[in-house]
Amino acid sequence: MARTAIPGRLTWQQATVVETRFDTPQVKSIALTVPGWSGHRAGQHVDVRLTAPDGYQAERSYSIASAPEDGYVVLSVERLDDGEVSPFLVDELRTGDELELRGPVGGYFVWDEPLGGPLFLVAGGSGLAPLRAMMRHHRATRSEVPVRALCSARSLEALLYREELMELAACDPFDISITLTRVQPSAWRGYRRRIDSDLLAEVAWPPADRSLTYICGPTAFVETAAAGLVGLGHDPARIRTERFGGTGVQP
């Protein structure tokens, strides 16, 4: 396991919102410029800090949804209705606003070319954000590592980066499968159920291919996907996971 040195202390940096866009009714992507940003690896996250007029502060961690090559740091934030920070970021924050960032953080749930493949990316709901960073990085670097991705969402409206996924699906090294677990358009030709062992067996690489797998989503989703792949014979050491939320609903 290679040692990844982060030189010096990670300091808080001022970031400015350059664009916001609703990806779904619940998720907004926020593009930020960060002067002097040191760059990041696809899959890393940042800490965000907000400060109220009386000095009160709140911090949260968010995955970076953009590739290192993108120029902006993009965070895709899901509105948690009882949340303190996410409703502000989704509903209040607008172009020109400033907030503080610290990062990038994390060196394990990352992918770049030297890590190879074939890649299997499994996303539940807004867990697609760091995997989208990996796919964008893959394209930006013209990697030839073959990629299979499985994205689970409750409905087409709840699927992040829809157009981008369609574009990727048309590219040669990408094979993208989508399952809509609650509501499907009438002519839907993708999967229509929560992930299970059979679905994983159809979509994943055969275990003999020794794929490198990244799974991100709510805990129950990640548990199902990771345990399912191990059950199919995939090497647990080749499966990297990132989970968010507590007892949240399964997409």
Binding site: T4, F109, V222, E223, T241, F244
Partner: protein, 199 residues
């Protein structure tokens, strides 16, 4: 300190005063793991104290469970910013485990099913500050939270409380563990907000 336009925040309750800097309170129990959850059958589970010790010791599950156990309630603080107050556990004090082996050096690498490791000073595992726990909230510790047994060192960030722990290796040198190698702080004191290297 730059004010964020429009942000008021939710200055919550009296409980907030119990939170280390930068943490927020959660009522559920988030799960963070770097890989799949291992499922080790109890008959092949054991716990070992080895390395720079007078007497390496290994306990089977049955032997481990026959050691004196204690119930206790502590607050836990995850480096990803959530804290959970008044969590109830039952487990064996690490004092008892170290006492049986007699360490001859100052550092520990906790090792786990699934390959996870974390490093701590021996001193932080002594003096009633650390346990190997097998019950959470009155029930067997679920695999997703580190069952059958996890290390619990509540005065440090929760990544030091290694899930699926299988033993402690006593070492003369302080070898960084899994997250410590990926840029997280070597010690991880939440009250000094030692999240990342250099903090």
């Amino acid at each position: 300190m730059a004010v964020t336009r429009g942000f008021q925040g939710r200055r919550s309750t009296a409980e907030s005063s119990q939170l280390p800097p930068g943490q927020y309170l959660t009522r559920d129990f988030p799960v963070l793991s770097a890989g799949p959850t291992p499922y080790t059958p109890l008959e092949s589970w054991d716990f070992t104290v080895r390395g720079a010790v007078d007497t390496p010791v290994t306990w089977s599950w049955e032997e481990f469970r026959s050691l004196p156990a204690e119930s206790f309630t502590v607050d836990i603080h995850c480096v990803t910013k959530w804290s959970k107050l008044d969590t109830s556990w039952r487990g064996v004090s690490v004092d008892a485990l170290l006492g049986a082996a007699s360490p001859r050096a100052e550092y520990v690498t906790a090792f786990c099913d699934g390959g996870y490791t974390t490093n701590l000073p021996v001193a932080d595992l002594r003096g009633g500050q650390a346990w190997v726990v097998f019950e959470y909230d009155g029930n067997p510790l679920p695999p997703v939270h580190g069952g059958p047994a996890r290390l619990l060192v509540p005065h440090l960030y929760f990544w030091k409380s290694a899930k699926w722990v299988r033993g402690l290796e006593i070492r003369a040198d302080d070898e960084p563990g899994f997250w410590e190698m990926y840029g997280y702080h070597n010690y991880g004191d939440p009250w000094r907000e030692q999240r990342y290297q250099g903090d």
